[in-house]
């Protein structure tokens, strides 16, 4: 590279290369490093021509369009990795949801069996899994940049899951409707800046919903303490799902070079 080249142009070249490499979404580090090296090599040669690096940048055209070209080339690898990320989020969140309900509903002694599960376990687990799946769906649906197509797909998959659980266990629609409300309340309270206030607001909102839903149901009113315990379990599922999603998302962004 000529030594007389203004450093401002070099900085611009560096920014353009960064933009192209980030936008290319190549899902492995070596591929990104090679593309970066190839583009630097390109500018080294192109910058020697009339117009210098400024001319080379102009000839390259829109970096976003170049990145789009690479994105198209590597789209299948990216989608595969994205599906892996979704599967990891769903499985981990659902497992945590089941684990929380196992811990809450496990009863020791007091009968023929040493260990047994409380009668409320199946229903509570269905709602918890619905919350976990809803959290994953909402995370993907509302992720920036917002895509209406992605949002609709997430909603459709959630609906499909609720119908599948309804057919298999006979309690899908009610559980997934409750899960959807919990997720909505969780997202509404997640707007609060301070984490303890966020958790407290979510707990309060979940408790009001659980208590109110049971009062409204034909089964009659739910005592306050069980309602608070149910809400605490749902809060644990919600918070754990968000933590899992944030961690998996960070790992995914690191893999595709967008961290």
């Amino acid at each position: 590279m000529p030594e007389t080249e203004p450093s401002a142009d070099l900085a611009r070249v560096s920014r353009v290369i960064d933009e192209v490499v980030r936008g290319a979404r190549i899902p492995w580090r070596r591929g990104r490093e090679q593309l970066r090296a190839e583009l630097w090599s390109h500018f080294e040669e192109s910058g020697r021509e009339a117009g210098g690096l400024g001319g080379a940048l102009a000839r390259l055209g829109d970096p976003a369009a170049l990145a789009q070209g690479f994105r198209h080339v590597y789209r299948h690898d990216y989608r595969l990795l994205y599906l892996g990320k979704l599967a990891a989020s769903l499985i981990a969140s659902a497992l945590v949801a089941v684990g929380v309900q196992l811990a809450v509903n496990l009863r020791v002694g007091g009968g023929a069996a040493l260990w047994r599960l409380a009668p409320a376990f199946p229903k509570a687990t269905a709602v918890s899994v619905a919350v976990a799946l809803g959290a994953v769906g909402a995370w993907e649906a509302l992720r920036r940049p917002f895509s209406p197509r992605r949002g609709l797909l997430a909603a459709a998959l959630y609906l499909l899951a609720s119908l599948a659980v309804q057919v298999a266990f006979g309690r899908g629609v009610a559980a997934f409707t409750a899960g959807l409300v919990i997720v909505g309340l969780g997202y509404a309270t997640s707007r609060l800046q301070i984490r303890p206030a966020r958790l407290a607001a979510a707990y309060l909102a979940f408790s009001i919903f659980v208590y109110g839903a049971h009062r409204a149901a034909a089964a009659g009113a739910m005592p306050l303490l069980p309602a608070l315990a149910t809400s605490a379990a749902l809060l644990a599922v919600w918070a754990a799902s968000l933590a899992i999603l944030a961690r998996v998302d960070r790992a995914f962004r690191g893999l595709v070079g967008q961290s």
């Binding site: 590279m1 090679q34 593309l35 090296a37 190839e38 583009l39 630097w40 090599s41 390109h42 080294e44 040669e45 192109s46 000839r59 390259l60 055209g61 829109d62 369009a65 170049l66 070209g69 690479f70 198209h72 080339v73 590597y74």
Partner: protein
């Protein structure tokens, strides 16, 4: 000359394969070579060339290796694989057949 995009669609692959069938090239060399041989009529764009090279490499038509250069940074040289050589031959034959047919039609229309 500014070419209609419709004419150019599909020619980039043929052009790259033709140049690489002679010897390995790095991307910038392909740009300049296409320009030189077409007497600057054909200006390949970086935005088209680089993704095309990567696509062909992913398809197994091209192999690449980094070579040191006297000028400074290492360069990524592309060469044809056996699959790429078959593609190059096929594309060249198709291109020649189309060009000959088009020539015959265009000459006929002037007659």
């Amino acid at each position: 000359m500014d070419f209609d995009r419709e004419f150019l669609t599909g020619t980039v692959t043929t052009l790259i394969l033709a140049l690489l069938s002679e010897r390995p090239h790095y991307a910038y060399e392909i740009l300049r070579e296409a320009e030189r041989r077409s007497n600057r009529q054909f200006e390949l764009k970086e935005g088209t060339l680089y993704p095309s090279l990567h696509q062909m490499e992913r398809s197994g038509w091209l192999a690449s290796e980094w070579r040191e250069s006297d000028a400074g940074r290492p360069r990524k040289y592309y060469s044809l694989t056996a699959k790429g050589r078959r593609q190059a031959k096929s594309k060249r034959e198709q291109w020649e057949a189309i060009a000959a047919a088009m020539q015959a039609i265009l000459e006929g229309s002037h007659a």
